[in-house]
Amino acid sequence: MDKTVSFEYYIRPLWYVVGEIRDKVEALLEFENSLNDACKMVSSELLENALKYGTCLKRGSDTRFEFTADEKQIRIEVSNDIYSEDDYKSLKDNIDQINASDNVRNLYIERLRLMMENTKMVKSQLGLYRITYEGKFKLSYQLEDTRLTITAIRELESKN
């Protein structure tokens, strides 16, 4: 990809928007298929997490989605107000566990095994595991007051 692609949305927490943004990502990117698929998946999973576990505490604090890609890096960022401290702690613990792991595939399979044993598990947050294992993106988070930002970054190999 020879140019920088960048766009930003402030969205109301409505589910159909996830599909719209996935379509937008697909329309704009010029990577090979598997990388395009990874970008769509990561965008979707981050937004779905925000809509499921996030909230809108005050006017003007809609969910924010930002996508930036150039030949060196893809960066996808989603911000939203958190619904509860418990949700934040669960998400933080999962991302910390993922980032500490040297075998994300095994971690993903272990998560599936837990879900298989407990199919009533409500908040699996499997999407976070999928982003790192399948999408090969690195996750980070930042909490400022009640505003949570999750960033997914994938460094691209140089063509040269």
Binding site: D37, A38, E45, E48, L112, R113, M116, M121, S124, Y133
Partner: protein, 118 residues
């Protein structure tokens, strides 16, 4: 046996003698796909007793991580129901290989479920 269609995801069933083919097509991106898929798939397990099942995910274009739960529940129910099942996925698709090879690893402890890349 009925097909499934929510406007985005279609599950098409075809019977040939004692074998049933199930093809997942389209996209699965509901916020909670278990709500619509679990009752449909549970009913299907009851109707499949004594049959052999071939599940094809090759033509599925996209699914979110929330879809994994009803798929695993379905696999558990098929295993418990003693229904011999072959699940195939597209090894040429990165997302399918990542998702279904992980399910393939889990299926090793199942007697009736086989997951295979094609």
């Amino acid at each position: 046996m009925k097909n499934f269609d929510n406007g985005y995801l279609q599950i098409i069933l075809t019977r040939k003698g004692g074998a049933v083919s199930m093809s997942w097509q389209g996209k699965s991106d509901d916020s909670n796909p278990s709500v619509s898929l679990n009752p449909y798939l549970e009913q299907l397990v009851n109707e499949l007793k004594g049959d052999e099942l071939f599940i094809e995910y090759n033509t599925l274009k996209y699914m979110n991580s929330s879809t994994v739960m009803p798929i695993m529940q379905f696999m558990k129910n098929l295993e418990a129901g003693g229904i011999k099942t072959m699940i195939t996925y597209d090894s040429g698709s990165d997302w399918q290989r990542a998702t279904f090879s992980a399910l393939q690893a889990l299926s090793c402890i199942m007697n009736n479920i086989t997951v295979k890349a094609i």
